[in-house]
């Protein structure tokens, strides 16, 4: 009995443990991101600021979107790219819900890019977490909007001819109340930023730089999860007050994480006087 108790992880209470093992590859960064998010949610719940029964996870399709399989909250695994509009409908229909969107960089900024920018423009009351692994991982390694220039992917076998999209800069240029970036090499910042975002209104966006050793690692010669993690860790720099011009992701010059935008603009719900 005591032993059975000991085998429980403190976050198991937020997981559908009967669905484990999860599908993520060994060394994948998504689980680290999820763990950090759940710790932040746990803190908010323990403080009485968040009702566990009011948390809704909405995801699209992709490795990152599989988060909705495992969280023991109300959850929706919807269509590729459409998590944000689905979540918008949820929030507007019942503003008492805390609606969290999790998705890959392709899901959120590629196919769902138009929804992302309109939700940010509206300052829609959602918390969106985008897991950037620089690739379409679930489908086997094709070009993502965040893939760096010249990198090999399965659909750009001669090297990516397109400069990457800086999603943090894009969202910061709109009406979002919160724009931050963290990395799975710094899970405490994922936790801190999630915690903070959950206490705010309006559109809150967190980019989490992640590792996909299985697919992206293979493309860039970092197939070993530990090496890939360490190579990413070397490049990630936290800044207390980063400016948006520092937000370009550059494997040579480094990746600046931190809180890029903290605003208190009226949210969509404030403006339509709901919730």
């Amino acid at each position: 009995m005591a032993l059975a108790k000991l085998t429980l992880h403190p976050l198991d209470k937020y997981l559908r443990t009967d669905r484990l093992p999860h599908i993520w590859c060994p060394g994948c960064g998504i689980g680290i991101a999820l763990g950090a998010m759940l710790r932040a949610i746990d803190r908010r719940i323990n403080e009485g600021k968040l009702d566990r029964n009011k948390v809704v996870f909405v995801t699209g399709i992709g490795c990152s979107a599989r988060v909705s399989f495992y969280v023991d909250f109300d959850s929706a695994h919807t269509l590729h790219g459409r998590a944000i509009p689905f979540a918008t409908g949820v929030k507007l229909a019942n503003p008492s819900l805390e609606v969290i969107v999790v998705g890959g960089d392709g899901d959120i900024a590629g196919i769902g890019g138009n929804h992302l920018l309109h939700a940010a423009k509206r300052n829609m009351d959602l918390f969106v977490v985008m897991i950037t692994n620089f690739v379409y991982a679930m489908t086997g390694g094709q070009l993502a909007p965040t893939t760096p220039l010249k990198v090999y992917t399965t659909t750009t076998p001669h090297g990516n001819p397109e400069p990457p999209l800086n999603v943090v800069k894009l969202v910061a240029s709109l009406n979002a109340n919160y724009v931050a970036r963290a990395s799975i090499t710094t899970p405490h910042y994922i936790e801190m930023f999630t915690y903070k975002a959950l206490g705010m209104r309006g559109f809150r966006f967190l980019e989490v730089i992640s590792t996909c050793p299985e697919v992206y690692g293979r493309h860039i010669g970092l197939r070993n999860p530990v090496t890939m993690f360490e190579e990413l860790k070397k490049r990630v720099k936290y800044k207390p007050n980063p400016v948006i011009d520092e937000s370009d992701i550059d494997w040579e010059k480094g990746i600046v994480i931190g809180e890029y935008v903290v605003r208190n603009n009226p949210s969509y719900l404030d403006l339509v006087k709901r919730g």
Partner: protein, 374 residues
């Protein structure tokens, strides 16, 4: 009940409000925009919200999300926007989400003629999306019918946990007629079935005897799973044939079994006729006076109007049509519903007689189309 004078689109909006609509998501498109504009004006005073989204893809997905947050949701569009909603409709099918999609047909394909009506999109209503499914499609022919069939669309969506397509067209949308509207309490409004078990025992896709699973929504402590992948009763993804077969069979069968409730047809002089004309929607408006005129001249001809396009009650339709020697189908397209009628009509000889026009069909055109085969 009171008399009103409304357009087809306004009648849909009024009936949606009466049915309990609380969330409308849409993107402007002729000839559906005025429906949204009318709702944007009125719905907030009924505690609802109208949002113009960035496109029709967002609109349908937001409506589905709102339905899962526990409210009645609707969107309206026309052919081009409806095409963009295809994947969303399939999500609503797979997740058994009550949602009403109004499609005001215009002339297609592509951008077509935005301001003119045809019946070119009836198969779009039936099989817009990928996947093996059946969803109800209703085809009103008057402003009164727009009103009544909107209430029915919401009731069917809730009762069967399904997307429903209300298929109007540019003629009916902007036609003004008098109609009877209902007061709350004067007409049955159906709400989705809720689970009767506590959260620990709840299986989100376990059906009742009617093959429809009770629906818990977000925020009630049921830890609902909305799953777009093929799933078992728990909502867990499965990749095996047994689960797939069960899911697909049930999604289709719950609608087929409900056909007695969903299906409606209207018969005029069908009993004693040698020939029956079948039509629906705005084309049917002109078939009726044509058949009446033919009868006055002594022809033994009847008229059958389909109010529900799918699922068809094949038994009922067969009983009505097989007595006649001839069945003539008049549609404003190159023969869509005809294919089903020809299959179902039994021993009757069936003729397809299109009236293809972007203006409301004229008496003479329809007379010619019908008389040709008598």
């Amino acid at each position: 009940m009171r008399r009103e004078f409304l357009s087809g689109n306004r009648a849909i909006a009024e009936a949606a409000i009466l049915s309990g609509l609380k969330f409308y998501a849409g993107y402007p498109i002729t000839p559906a925009s005025d429906l949204m504009e009318y709702l944007a004006e009125k719905l907030p005073s009924y505690g609802g919200i109208v949002v113009q989204f960035e496109d029709e893809i967002a609109s349908i997905n937001a409506a589905i999300g709102a339905s899962w947050a526990g409210v009645k949701a609707m969107t309206a569009t026309s052919g081009p926007g409806f095409s963009l909603m295809a994947e969303g409709v399939s999500l609503a099918v797979a997740t058994e989400t009550p949602v009403v999609v109004v499609d005001i047909m215009r002339a297609g394909p592509s951008t077509g003629i935005p301001t003119k009506a045809t019946q070119s999109d009836v198969y779009q209503a039936r099989w817009l999306a990928h996947g093996d499914y059946t969803i109800p499609v209703f085809a009103p022919w008057s402003v009164q019918d727009c009103y009544d069939m909107t209430i029915k669309s919401f009731n069917v969506a809730e009762k069967f946990r399904t997307p429903v397509v209300l298929l109007s067209d540019a003629n009916i949308a902007h036609m003004w007629e008098t109609l009877y509207v209902r007061e709350p309490g004067e007409v049955e409004i159906i709400e989705r079935k809720k689970p009767s078990v506590p959260p620990e025992e709840y299986r989100p896709y376990q059906p009742g005897l009617d093959l429809v699973p009770p629906m818990a929504v977000f925020g009630e402590g049921y830890k609902v799973i909305v799953e777009s992948l093929v799933h078992d009763e728990l909502g867990y993804y499965r990749q095996d044939s047994v689960t797939y077969r069960e899911m697909i069979a049930r999604l289709n069968e719950k609608i087929r079994r409900g056909v007695g409730y969903i299906y409606e047809q209207e018969e005029y002089w069908v009993e004693d006729s040698d020939a029956v004309v079948v039509a629906y929607g705005s084309t049917a408006r002109m078939v009726y006076p044509v058949v009446k005129a033919l009868r006055q001249k002594g022809a033994r001809v009847g008229f059958l109007r389909l109010k529900t396009l799918w699922p068809l009650d094949e038994e009922r339709l067969w009983r009505a049509l097989s007595r006649a020697g001839k069945v003539i189908v008049v549609e404003n397209n190159t023969g869509r519903v005809y294919l089903d009628v020809a299959r179902i009509a039994g021993s009757a000889r069936t003729f397809f007689s299109p009236v293809i026009t972007v203006d409301p069909p004229k008496f003479n055109e329809v007379m010619e189309a019908v008389a040709r085969w008598l």
